[in-house]
Symmetry: C2
Subunit: 528 residues, 2 copies
């Protein structure tokens, strides 16, 4: 893509032009080339240095050229998803890309080269053929929102220094609560740095609701408290149990049916069992869109919802029935940074009872939340959080909602679910494929084994077959990454050996990309 560099700090005009990875036809090239010869500044010339304005603008425009070029390539199916290198290769310094930090400053020219190299050796998570994670895609409006957020560089803890963002958060949370179905969207909530932290909040709130004295006296003030969650649920519930002092053994895993959904009778039996032992059942977590199977637990009778992955489906009039009963939950975790394509990080914990977040977490820091400010200090939300400083995660989401409307999110979600049904229909009877579970996917998760011809004659229950099949997905995945053509996740689950978990949340993905994935799996796996 770009030719090698010899020295660690090359002279600017020659090397930059030689390394320029953009096409002559691009807008970026047109405006950046004008500056290239005049552009030889050192760091001290950037703002806030005196007369630093022009150098700053030039530097930022050069950078934007690099970034927009990356964006353009991200969506270009003829580029690779990644250019894989092992850790030791990158640490040794690829073509002069030196990761080590030093005492002396680098030139701005070199900083721009570093930026280009950082992108070059990374993974294009917005590429139409990147299916590896629940969070994929690169939404341009969301990106714009992040650029603005970092330019504003402020903190959510007080209205004083984030007036607009605090109000946006409040309005957006209300809108989300309306979609959950709580009367008039009443309640509370906060954006947190991801689903695991949101789930931690939900456990803390439940504990505070029934045993408020734990806040001051610790866990010894309560009986032995037990949390319940699906054996298929995200590991963050267990992490929260360990961190918050419950102990991971007091997180009871619920059995699931063949589709990965909690069996209500099992929950009932386990609650009874816990009660008979004299422990206190505190919290039941229902998962709306489990990580691997994409399963929706039956929500009625269940107290708190972890819908980090599935939350977006609330936006779809066609699919929101899968959340039936969600309005009965006391708290809901919802990660717009997954299914809805908002850039990382964007996760919300929504709470039905007003005031409980503050009750649970406030410590009344006088230096931050002065009661004698000139504005209505109920807008200072920082004391509700377990964080102090809190990144502005709301703006990109708010801006995307503005730009798409609720209807735009709905279309995106319906399209992703259609694509996953397309994949399911394509492979369920196709030679060489076996589904991990039968039936139309509840979410965009499609779980399947690819069985290479050499395994097809073996007895499926034999240990040999299982051992060989277990190695197929990792091998195909490794070859995919080496060739850089596409990426999809795999994992074992319980007694089931490694299988592929395909998910669709990328707005760039088309049916042809699904076709490509299948072709690629067969191309790479055929001779295994």
């Amino acid at each position: 893509m770009s030719p090698g560099r010899v020295g660690p700090e090359p002279a600017w005009p020659v090397s930059l032009r030689a390394r320029h990875p953009c096409k002559a036809s691009s807008l970026y090239f047109r405006f950046s080339i004008r500056f290239v010869n005049a552009f030889s500044v050192i760091l001290l010339d950037l703002l806030p240095a005196k007369n630093g304005e022009e150098a700053t603008m030039q530097f930022l425009l050069e950078l934007v050229g690099i970034l927009t070029n990356y964006v353009r390539k991200t969506f270009d199916r003829s580029t690779k998803v990644l250019d894989f290198h092992h850790p030791h290769q990158l640490l040794e310094g690829m073509e002069g890309f030196n990761l080590e930090l030093s005492d002396q400053p680098e030139s701005l020219e070199q900083i721009l080269v570093d930026c280009r190299d950082t992108l070059k050796y990374g993974v294009r998570t917005g590429h139409p053929r990147f299916f590896n994670q629940l969070s994929t895609g690169l939404d341009i409006i969301g990106l714009a929102g992040e650029w603005l957020t970092s330019t504003a560089n402020t903190n959510m803890f007080t209205y004083e220094i984030a007036p607009v963002f605090v109000l946006m958060e409040q309005l957006t949370l209300k809108k989300m609560r309306e979609m959950i179905g709580w009367p008039s969207g009443e309640g509370d909530g906060i954006f947190s740095p991801g689903g695991a932290i949101s789930n931690m909040y939900s456990v803390m709130i439940a504990r505070y609701k029934y045993f408020p004295e734990v806040k001051t006296k610790g866990m010894s003030a309560a009986p032995r408290l037990v949390l319940f969650t699906s054996e298929h649920s995200h590991y963050s519930i267990k992490k929260a149990g360990a961190a918050l002092g419950f102990g991971s053994e007091n997180v009871v895993l619920l059995s699931t049916d063949e589709r990965g959904r909690v069996i209500p009778a099992d929950l009932e039996a386990k609650i009874l069992d816990v009660k008979q032992k004299g422990y206190h059942p505190l919290f039941v977590n229902a998962t709306a869109g489990s990580t691997v199977y994409g399963a929706f637990d039956p929500i009625n009778e269940i107290a708190d919802i972890y819908g980090a992955w599935g939350g977006g489906l609330l936006m779809s009039r066609k699919h929101r029935h899968k959340f039936s009963g969600v309005e009965r939950a006391n708290s809901v975790t919802w990660n717009p940074h997954k299914m809805m394509g908002v850039p990382l990080q964007c996760s919300a914990i929504l709470v039905r009872e007003k005031g409980i977040l503050a009750g649970c977490n406030s410590m009344c820091a006088g230096y931050l939340f002065q009661p004698d400010k000139q504005y209505d200090v109920s807008y200072d939300t920082g004391d509700k959080a377990i964080q102090c400083g809190r990144h502005v995660d709301i703006f990109k989401f708010w801006l995307m909602w503005k730009a798409k409307g609720t209807i735009g999110f709905e279309q995106h979600i319906d399209k992703c679910l259609d694509l996953s049904q397309y994949l399911y229909d394509k492979i369920r009877n196709r030679q060489g494929y076996e589904m991990v579970f039968q039936g139309v996917p509840q979410h965009t998760n499609v779980c399947f084994w690819y069985i290479p011809p050499s395994l097809r004659g073996l007895e499926h229950n034999s240990e040999e077959y299982r051992e060989k099949l277990h190695k197929v997905a990792p091998k195909i995945k490794a070859m995919m990454m080496e060739s850089g053509t596409t990426m999809v996740g795999y994992q074992p689950q319980g007694q089931k050996v490694n299988f592929f978990r395909m998910v669709v949340s990328n707005p760039a993905a088309l049916q042809s990309d699904i076709d490509f994935l299948i072709d690629e799996i067969e191309r790479l796996g055929h001779d295994l």
Copy 2:
């Protein structure tokens, strides 16, 4: 700054040009004006839409114009720090700036207008006269780092999808451990979403170190555990105590001297007292740069360090003696997003013992951390975290370190401390000022009362004087915000009534800005 808008969705060319807040001489204007007439696209035209490339580039360049214009204004002392409005005013919709979300999409033109309005009604935290928070300033390299980070939009949990960032984190953490003074920079660490979460990690690690069974069995498996921290320390230690199941009553506050430093004899006495009661002293937190006074606790004899605010001083050969003994700590919290001017969020928890982070937090999620990958999976760091998805906070910091060198951070820190000494020297004997404590500031915090002429004759120990003085700082601050000229924090502390806490971390600040602040306090406060 920009004229009013009449309708909610004005026609593009007229209103955009009318609202353009940039100067005719700016670079931005030169390239943006070329597109303005051709620019009438709707959302569906953006990437990944077919042929969306040109619309995307135009949209992003328009946005960059808005952002660079904001950057330019941020450093311009003739602009206001903020344009204050009350919550109800912003909610009612200022000049058509409508915060409400709707079902239908907005035009891209309107989205750009929304971006401009969002910045217009926000606070310029990078303004040379913004002194309100520990995090101030707008570092251009850090900003570039954030723009790139959001363009890459990936997740720190595996090497697989963040190879470069994972390695940068590893190298940077090692460098930070070297600065702490741990042999060969050995140990472990992770970037977390802020100092409060980093502190939570440090408490969890201490608990796991001495009572590992709490992870599985909960707090009932341990004796009553007690945490110690300064009465001046950040409230996050108490929050962590409450959240993690210790109970806030088991966070014992240590007395401080007149400068806000923990008195070692008090720690000793309180540890003995706790032991006599049969409880277990688990964790002692030393603060390096307390929030209000900027005090450095005497670190020797103390186990864990919270140096979120002061951490940057480790970079300064002149000031790092204040950390004497830090290498004896088991864990250190260090927030580059404060004193070092890295954009929010950027906080690290550094740990002396290798493996303990993973031991404490791992839950071995099979779907994410497959052992059978083709690369060295010890680089998959996600299972060390209490989060699952983790935002890329490292790149901006790494890039700033590259651009400045260690020496650049040192210069920045020395300059900020010099400025605070300048302020101290200026006001300590000035009429109308009283210092909250005597002596040269340990950090950049300068705490003082401004005493308006009407109060100067009153008996300083009288209740009347205290009551009146308590109202002075809030009143001056409110007037500052209304006039938008500068911002500085205030708070009470213990028995001390409201006083100003001046901090300097903004690289844009000059002596003349300190002079301006003092003039402004006197101008606004003189007739109170």
